[in-house]
Homo-oligomer: 215 residues x 4
DNA sequence: CATGAATGAGTGTTCATTCAT
DNA sequence: TATGAATGAACACTCATTCAT
């Protein structure tokens, strides 16, 4: 059934255009006509692939979350513990154009999710999912002795998640102050503090030195 | 003698209603009719006190920022250093109904500020102002020996600000997980860690010193 | 009763401001707030002197017509026949700022009078009145032998009235082409033709010479 | 394949309805809702064919001027000199229902053009164009010996144009007095006078010669 | 008398949605 | 499948009008 394949490919093409429009014009500033123009198709074509405007936006969020999760899978394969944690944390900051677009889009989605949580399809799904993965990796790192086992992994994860989205917000609001480099440096420093507390001076020094070399 | 009305008092009454509407319906979900209904007045009355819808929203943000700053003044008077810092940080979390409303309102404002920064009146003013105050108080605390003088006050402030707004966002997105109590506990723990590093074991101090050198 | 005098004086002051506003903004572009601003008073004061907006405009037209008629009286006293006719015709062209304002104002009134004739107070009153006076003076001039008695005075008057208002319109639409001087020259030439036809060569020459000296 | 509609034909249909509305309600009394009702379509359809209200009105004027010019072309073909002049002059009087509607519509346009000339698309275009054609035909008639060559063709044209629009105005303001028949008779008489002066008695010729010398 | 606060109907305009082709 | 014509409700905004002071 080749038609079905085309259908799905077309759908994703359309939704990627929706991301750009929402990132540019905001969630409710995004009109169906604007989306159609961005896709290069007519307004009617969106009615074919989606029930209504809400379905378009919901589907766009869905696809974004799918893509993010897929990226996690590929990035985390082969990693565990602290190195996986570092990879996951850095992957969730808007450190390049693609993820900045993603963040802008999702930020609009969140500000709406705050209001009417029942109308939103997967309410704040990314948050819970991300925090679960963070907790899991922190547990691993604690088992491996990379992170101080005395602190609650839930609390550490909550703090990292807070930093991730706080930095995401501020880097969009004031990119001059909170540059991409500074975000990365600050979040790595925070990871270092977790490590150092666990391993003491020598380990901490080595780890941080390696990380500097990495970038 | 015309019907005498305290113009400023009425204006603030109206703007407080606007906060509620924006927190409930979002920035562009907020219609003039909805605002009028929330105020209890007719739609025309808003035309009396404000030039247009944009002026309403700008004024609402302005008033919110004024209120926040005024609260800072009253809370920080007589305090300095770490205790002032703790007070300021806790004051900027949505730990009660009033500040939750405030946060919901400003979150909508920020998500719009991300898009068209030039159309927004005082772009993300709260952020910059808050971070300046944080930096200042961290410096004081460092001078008083309450916080390790080896770390950059700008970086510490950036991290605290990230946590504040990250927690604000997540507590609104998932209040069941990130309760008010947990927010307070986590942020206080973070402040404690700053303190411990200053007063505590040699290992901690050495590590932080190295990190400063690294950059 | 001094109060009544003040009342009438104030009314006329207000209406003169209305003329300026209508000439500037057009009949329906003229708002009560705009009129109030032009008068220097508050919006409410107009409600005291006039029933509603329509009453304001009707009164403004009335006053304009009164003024015009009064001007006719003063200009035509002592004159008769052709010289009175010339005076009347020239007085009804927008040859100075005051009469240009008047014409602009009345032109707006006419364009409305064309539509709903029943709503207009004195429908096109100026026209009929002016044409009656024109006819009367033409009759006088014919009796005095100044104008060829063979032509219908009604037709001559109709033609002069057409020229007057046609020139008024075009001088406002394209003042660069139909200057004040050209209007005066053309209308005088037309009057000359009436005269010359009646008196033949010699008389015509004398009259036109005198007229040239007059200016 | 979309629903196929002849865009231009529909546009002209709509604009003809706009003429009727403006002639009936005036330029600013003409609402989009009123226009939609007159067309028989919904308000949204006007948004399809025109950018905004201004575009509607501008387009309506444009179409009217196009139609007028097209009518000129067809009427003047094969004619020259005085007979062409007579045809053109009579064609620009509201002597039938179609041209009366046209005149009512354009009169509203002119009264607005007087105020804000820059906002109006082709300010008073009909006037200048018409006068140019009048001048040209008068020149032809003078060359053919139909009209006295001693008088300035520009002045004759200005006078005829004044009569045309003066009569147009008055016939709308007071159709009982200035009937269609009377308009035609008076304007033809005026044309005859131009002819008589050319072909007629010595006296007339002499006078007009002097008048030319006077200026 | 004079003010200007308050009203609410009406405006132009935008836009999600439907549907005949 | 894809189009874009058509709809009509909802929007921000203006304004004549009323009326308590």
């Amino acid at each position: 059934m080749p038609k079905t394949v085309d259908h799905e490919v077309r759908r994703e093409e359309l939704l990627e255009a929706v991301w750009r429009v929402v990132a540019r014009d905001g969630l409710e500033g995004a009109t169906i006509r604007g989306m159609a123009q961005e896709t290069g198709w007519s307004v009617g074509v969106l009615a074919h692939y989606f029930k209504d405007k809400d379905d378009i936006l919901v589907s766009a969020v869905d696809l974004a979350l799918q893509r993010i999760e897929a990226r996690w899978e590929s990035q985390l394969s082969g990693l565990r513990g602290l190195s996986a944690l570092r990879s996951l944390v850095l992957d969730n900051l808007p450190l390049d154009a693609e993820r900045e677009l993603e963040t802008k889009f999702l930020m609009n989605y969140w500000s709406r999710a705050i209001r009417d949580r029942e109308r939103v399809p997967r309410p704040a799904r990314r948050g819970p999912e991300l925090i679960d993965r963070l907790i899991e990796l922190i547990r691993e790192a604690q088992q491996d002795g990379e992170i101080d086992a005395g602190r609650s992994p839930e609390d550490i994860a909550e703090m990292l998640l807070g930093l991730i989205d706080g930095f995401s917000l501020h880097s969009l609001l004031d990119p001059g102050r909170l540059t991409r480099e500074r975000q990365a440096r600050l979040i790595e420093a925070e990871l270092d503090r977790l490590t150092c507390e666990a391993n003491g001076v020598a380990a901490g020094r080595d780890v941080s030195t390696q990380r500097v070399r990495r970038h």
